[in-house]
């Protein structure tokens, strides 16, 4: 499934698109929800179109123009945290490992 070709002038988010992005973000959603989301998303995205009225051809994005640059750590070891506490917080573990159900290799 691929998102329908971009047409930001008349945005509308189909239920198929809702299903696609739900999977992308790993949310299981119910069929009846897709309809509601599709309507709400279309309305919200429609509202965002007012940005298209603004000419930004010569404008740099704000996030690449930070007040700060070159913030570093020195390469020095800090103590690690307690493995026991970490393991106790895990939904599942085996020995000293985090345990999760079978992985299908679809990265």
């Amino acid at each position: 499934m691929v998102i329908s070709p971009i047409d930001t002038a008349t945005p509308s988010i189909s239920t198929d698109t809702v299903r696609y992005i739900a999977y992308l973000i790993r949310l299981k959603i119910l069929d009846e929800e897709t309809k509601v989301f599709s309507q709400q998303f279309s309305q919200i995205i429609e509202y965002f179109q007012l940005l298209n009225e603004i000419d930004t051809r010569e404008v740099p994005p704000a996030n690449e123009n930070c007040p700060m640059n070159n913030v570093f750590r020195d390469d020095q070891v800090l103590p690690s945290m307690s493995r026991e506490e970490f393991l106790n917080n895990l939904p599942q573990h085996e020995g000293y490992y985090v345990k999760v159900p079978l992985i299908f290799d679809d990265r």
Partner: protein, 487 residues
């Protein structure tokens, strides 16, 4: 006056003079929590024994007269978005309902080192997504001024708590008004500091580019006291600012005569309730009386602020919330699952509320292949223009004045079904987060019995001036001394 209604400043005086002990003070606040919180529901977690233990330690410190800070022995609480070692941290979400962190946020460490007494964790909209506290996965918090109304959000529990005497101050977090808006709804002071002024380490991120940690207090003096304790460079937060932190409380009485107060034209055109506007006009007259030069200024891209804010929020939040997958901490589905993908899908389906799902799906949509330029990049470019608006406004004036919210506190349930209308209540607060500048929300009157807040917006790292103006205003007015009568 009841001990639980004391300001930090007054409580500190009494503690240092040994007229009260921290244990007495803490016990009084805890008793008030027992009395009122069943109605207000500001707290998700109260750590009574731990608080009393900390209070005892604070008393020892106060007795020794060594290493006393203005916050030693002062009971406070934090919004539940801050990681607290050994204390349940939910971020208002089912997906963290039983999560007990292994480490504490830097702001909590700092307050702990200062000797402040942590009472517990405040209710909030799930992951900070909301303007009413109705998006908490656990329960609604009620506005102490009218229990049928919302306290604002997302730091609603914190604002309600300080307003009702359930903590002497609170630490909240403001991504797009989340400190200021509830502060305005609950008649207290709330500061969104300059982005980077207070470490975000240990704050469960919503929008890493906007999140600002700040105090909610009864008055400006207290706000200055808390900020000077929590501000400063943190080696664990690469975006925290290295600039030295002033002792804000020593310069509060500096005259504000001659300072220029800008009134952004667009904010008053955008539409607000008549009662809110009346109160604002009264406040402007107070500032004139204090010798400030009032002038109109323009922030031309105001209308674009809200879509820019939400576009960036959706995108960053969709990534920030990806780590909640049920494999390493927090909630994990009890359903039988075949694979790790099922585990993640099911856990997130069960663990996230509707508003969170809506926003992270929209984030995935606006970032997905082919859409980045049209949405995220476009928003970041318009954000540059909004920043530029503020930069040029601050060439003409020292601070800007604006309402905190177009309305007073609305009724619980009133806007919940309509996400877009709910988003519109953030109209006056989000631009400051886009620009990264500080803004101080102050009580400035009432409309039909409900508090109205105004915000003073300053240039980067101008908290000192904001405090001076706010302090002068509070010396001239009594709004901040009004407490709700809760029956």
């Amino acid at each position: 006056m009841e001990l639980y209604n004391l300001s930090i400043r007054k409580a500190h005086e009494l503690l240092v003079k040994k007229q009260i002990s921290s244990v007495e003070l803490t016990s009084a606040v805890l008793a008030n929590i027992h009395r009122l919180d069943p109605k207000i529901r500001a707290y998700l977690t109260v750590v009574e024994q731990r608080a009393l233990e900390q209070a005892r330690k604070a008393d020892i410190r106060l007795h020794s007269r060594e290493n006393i800070t203005p916050l030693t022995g002062i009971p406070y609480a934090v919004k539940d978005c801050f990681s607290t070692r050994g204390i349940r941290t939910t971020c208002g979400s089912k997906i963290l309902q039983d999560y007990i962190p292994q480490y504490s946020a830097s702001v909590v460490e700092k307050l702990n080192n200062a000797g402040a007494v942590l009472l517990g964790k405040h209710n909030m909209d799930e992951f900070g997504m909301g303007s009413s506290c109705e998006n908490s996965a656990f329960f609604n918090t009620h506005n102490p001024w009218n229990l049928e109304r919302v306290p604002g959000g997302s730091s609603g529990g914190s604002a309600a708590s300080v307003s009702a005497g359930l903590s002497l101050f609170a630490i909240g977090e403001d991504t797009g008004g989340s400190i200021r808006m509830p502060a305005g709804f609950c008649n207290i002071v709330g500061l969104k500091p300059t982005y980077g002024r207070v470490s975000r380490y240990g704050h469960i991120a919503l929008v890493s580019s906007f999140d600002s940690v700040g105090p909610l207090t009864q008055d400006v003096y207290d706000c200055a006291t808390v900020l000077q304790t929590i501000a400063g460079k943190d080696p664990k937060d690469g975006t925290s600012l290295p600039d030295p932190v002033p002792i804000y409380t020593t310069s509060l009485e500096k005259s504000i005569n001659g300072l220029r107060l800008g009134i952004p034209r667009e904010y008053f055109q955008a539409g607000m309730e008549a009662g809110v506007e009346t109160v604002l006009q009264d406040a402007i007259r107070v500032f004139e009386k204090l010798g400030m030069q009032v002038q109109e200024v323009s922030l031309p891209h105001t209308r674009a602020a809200l879509p820019v804010y939400y576009l960036i929020l959706f995108a960053e939040a969709s990534a920030n919330l990806a780590r909640f997958d049920g494999t390493r901490f927090g909630y994990s589905t009890n359903q039988k699952v075949e694979s790790v993908i099922d585990l993640i899908l099911q856990t997130r389906q069960e663990g996230f509320g509707e508003e969170v799902k809506r926003r992270i799906m929209l984030g995935a949509y606006t970032l997905s292949a082919g859409y980045y330029d049209a949405y995220y990049l476009k928003a970041q470019k318009v954000r540059s223009l909004i920043r530029e608006d503020f930069r040029s406004a601050f060439e003409k004036c020292d601070v800007l004045l604006a309402p905190t919210c177009p309305t007073t506190a609305f009724k619980i349930g009133e806007k919940k079904q309509d996400p877009l209308t709910m988003y519109l209540s953030d109209i006056f607060v989000v631009a400051t987060n886009l620009a990264g500048v500080p803004a101080l929300s102050l009580p400035c009157g009432f409309s039909e019995g409900l508090p109205v807040g105004m915000q003073l917006i300053g240039n980067h790292l101008s908290e000192e001036i904001l405090f001076q103006i706010g302090y002068a205003y509070q010396a001239e007015t009594e709004w901040h001394n009004m407490h709700p009568l809760i029956t």
